[in-house]
């Protein structure tokens, strides 16, 4: 259980480890984009951890990163094809950031730092914890940016139409500002 919980808070991939910053900053322009990206990462992380854990003793250490990357790329491409076929709208909204999950350092990082040294069940719990932690982080960031930038959350109107949207929140600068505040809050809560 400890392996699962730690990714949700104490070792949160975004707010504590500051990993996977590229998708975190880039796709969180709305809450829905954040969730979709988060869930895609959960899928890739879970299955990559599963496969890597099963074959880790077969792979020579010199080429392990190359093998892990191919495995991760395979699952990312599956997600990409799945979204294009079943959720074409989400696929269009996330655009190039789905293929970019391949180089998301959370996934390679977990495979290398955790899965290769732990048992299968611990690895799967770790993957789910980290993935869900990543998802709620992106959802929170996306919600805050969407709320102040568009006055909505998940497309529902929250702020009155008199509210003048802060365009900066949707721009890249807004991502850095909100992330900075959230990391600061996380830090002070942990003290």
């Amino acid at each position: 259980m400890r392996e699962f919980i730690k990714g949700l808070w104490r070792e949160h991939p975004v707010f504590r480890q500051l990993l996977g910053m590229c998708p975190t900053l880039a796709v969180t322009t709305s809450a829905l984009n954040g969730i979709s990206m988060g869930l895609s990462v959960v899928f890739v992380l879970f299955f990559s951890s599963l496969v890597v854990s099963l074959i880790k003793n077969l792979v020579p250490t010199q080429v392990r990163i190359a093998v892990y990357t191919v495995i991760i790329a395979t699952f990312v491409t599956i997600v990409d094809i799945f979204l294009q076929a079943v959720f074409p709208d989400i696929s269009m909204a996330l655009g190039p950031f789905i293929p970019l999950i391949i180089v998301n350092c959370i996934i390679l990082g977990r495979c290398e730092a955790f899965v290769s040294k732990h048992s299968l069940s611990a690895s799967l719990k770790d993957a789910l914890g980290m993935g869900i932690g990543f998802t709620w982080g992106l959802f929170l960031l996306g919600s805050i940016r969407e709320l102040f930038g568009e006055g909505t959350i998940l497309g529902f109107k929250i702020l009155s139409s008199n509210y003048n949207p802060l365009i900066v929140m949707i721009l890249p600068a807004g991502a850095f500002i909100v992330l900075g505040f959230l990391v600061a809050i996380m830090n002070s809560l942990e003290k």
Partner: protein
């Protein structure tokens, strides 16, 4: 030597297994993806031109043009897909022009990878509606201020490049299509 063979073997077999898995998944999905694309084009046409009761695809000089017919089987407009470079990647626009070739009935962004929240707003109704009834006997102009003529539109704040890309792509293609249809 043994080491090299082992490493090469592992890498090769990993790639082969992954490639098989991917071609399997893509084989299942490809039909659905193509259908989604086709449906997006058809939906976009009927959205822009609800009066089009029949859509006929024709090829003129390697350009695909959709002839739109009303319920009396008379041509009432033409639709076509224009493609070009946007801010981050390809933008694919479907547009409908009226039968006199002077007026743009509207546009639909079929495919784009513009910045979410900024350039991606070219997909929003607010931007697309600006192209309704635009005069295309002259080149479409993209302004930063409010338009004063019927061949001008206002660009999206913070996404001038994407807005300009859309008008440039349209201008180029409209020229080609109008010439082709006139020659026909």
């Amino acid at each position: 030597m043994k080491e090299v063979v082992k490493i090469t073997g592992i890498l090769t077999s990993t790639c082969i297994i992954c490639a098989f898995l991917l071609s399997f998944v893509s084989g299942i999905a490809i039909e659905k993806i193509e259908m989604n694309k086709q449906k997006r084009v058809e939906d976009a046409i009927t959205n822009l031109a609800p009066y089009a009761k029949k859509i006929e695809e024709v090829k003129l000089n390697n350009e695909i043009i959709y002839n739109l017919f009303n319920n009396k089987n008379k041509i009432v407009g033409y639709a076509f897909v224009a493609e070009g470079q946007g801010y981050q990647g390809k933008i694919k626009i479907l547009s409908v022009i009226d039968v006199s070739l002077k007026k743009l009935e509207g546009i639909e962004i079929v495919e784009s990878v513009e910045t979410p929240g900024l350039g991606a707003k070219i997909k929003g109704a607010l931007f697309k509606n600006k192209f309704k009834n635009l005069n295309i006997s002259k080149t479409i102009e993209c302004l930063k201020d409010d338009p004063t003529k019927d061949n001008q539109i206002k660009s999206i704040t913070g996404a001038t490049v994407s807005s300009r890309a859309v008008t440039n792509i349209l201008n180029k293609k409209i020229d080609i299509i109008v010439n082709l249809v006139n020659k026909k």
